[in-house]
Amino acid sequence: MDVKKAEKRYLPMSETMFYILLSLREKRHGYAVMLHVEEITKGRVKIGAGTMYQSISKLAGDGLIAAAGEEGRQKKYQVTALGMHILQAEAQRIRDLFEAAEELL
């Protein structure tokens, strides 16, 4: 998928997608992503098996993540250059939102 199409499709992205991409800066399989996201959000964001499989399939299908080996029967994935670009664009969008929100407080 080209960059423009990916930006249109993924920005803004859901919290689930954001944390999955963020977590896949390191090679991980779905279960490890779920554990990592729970840890970094202190248990606030829980991702179920169906949501994880659906999200990973979509991200891999669009080239934002790619298979990076296996552990047992589980496939590991890692973010691609396209995925990293989208993640950074989303981070920038969240920073802009944050700055706008700051003015209110």
Binding site: T16, G30, A49, M52, Y53, R73, Q74
Partner: protein, 179 residues
């Protein structure tokens, strides 16, 4: 003599058309001590329950026509037990205490799970309507091939009844597409 430890229920996925309703039904049965060992294709017509201790299960129905290699492994790693398949509907369950576990944890993925089922039924509905159209067109294009009015009415009625049933299912499911 009737076996009190076995109960067969017909047409459960049709009586409880929305996946969330079917899941709740299976969970209510489990809580009353009625459980299935394995779900097979024929379970969509006749579901056989066995009397057990009451169980607190979370059931999940997930339509997946072309599962990738790590589909099963992902669910199993998250602690779900594969109970079986009805067509492409994968049935998972998990025994739990405390909070009812979820396989779909955001609205987008839950809606997608439900829309997968809705889209299959929509295709079937189009097929039924195309069937009616084909019979009507044939009736006027090749009138000689219909020797009796029954030749026309019966196929139209069959397609119409099936289309109406699909319409009812679709309405129920669409209303519950985020559940």
């Amino acid at each position: 003599m009737k076996n009190k430890n076995v109960k067969a229920v017909w047409w459960t996925p049709y009586k409880y058309a929305a996946p969330s309703d079917w899941e709740r039904y299976m969970e209510d049965m489990a809580a009353q001590g009625w459980n299935v060992d394995k779900i097979k294709q024929r379970s969509s017509f006749r579901m056989v329950f066995h009397k057990t201790e009451p169980k607190q299960y979370r059931y999940v129905m997930d339509l997946n026509a072309f599962p990738k290699k790590d589909y099963m492994a992902t669910y199993e790693a998250f602690g779900w037990e594969f109970v079986g398949k009805m067509a492409s509907e994968y049935i998972w369950r998990r025994e739990y205490t405390g909070e009812r576990p979820e396989a779909f944890t955001d609205t987008a993925s839950l809606e997608k799970r439900n829309m997968n089922v809705i889209n299959v039924l929509r295709i079937l509905l189009v097929v039924m309507l195309a069937g009616i159209a084909a019979v009507v067109i044939a009736r006027f294009a090749v009138p000689d091939s219909f020797t009796d009015w029954v030749d026309f009415v019966i196929p139209v009625a069959i397609f119409a009844v099936m289309a109406a049933a699909l319409g009812v299912f679709l309405r129920k499911m669409y209303r519950k597409r985020t559940e």
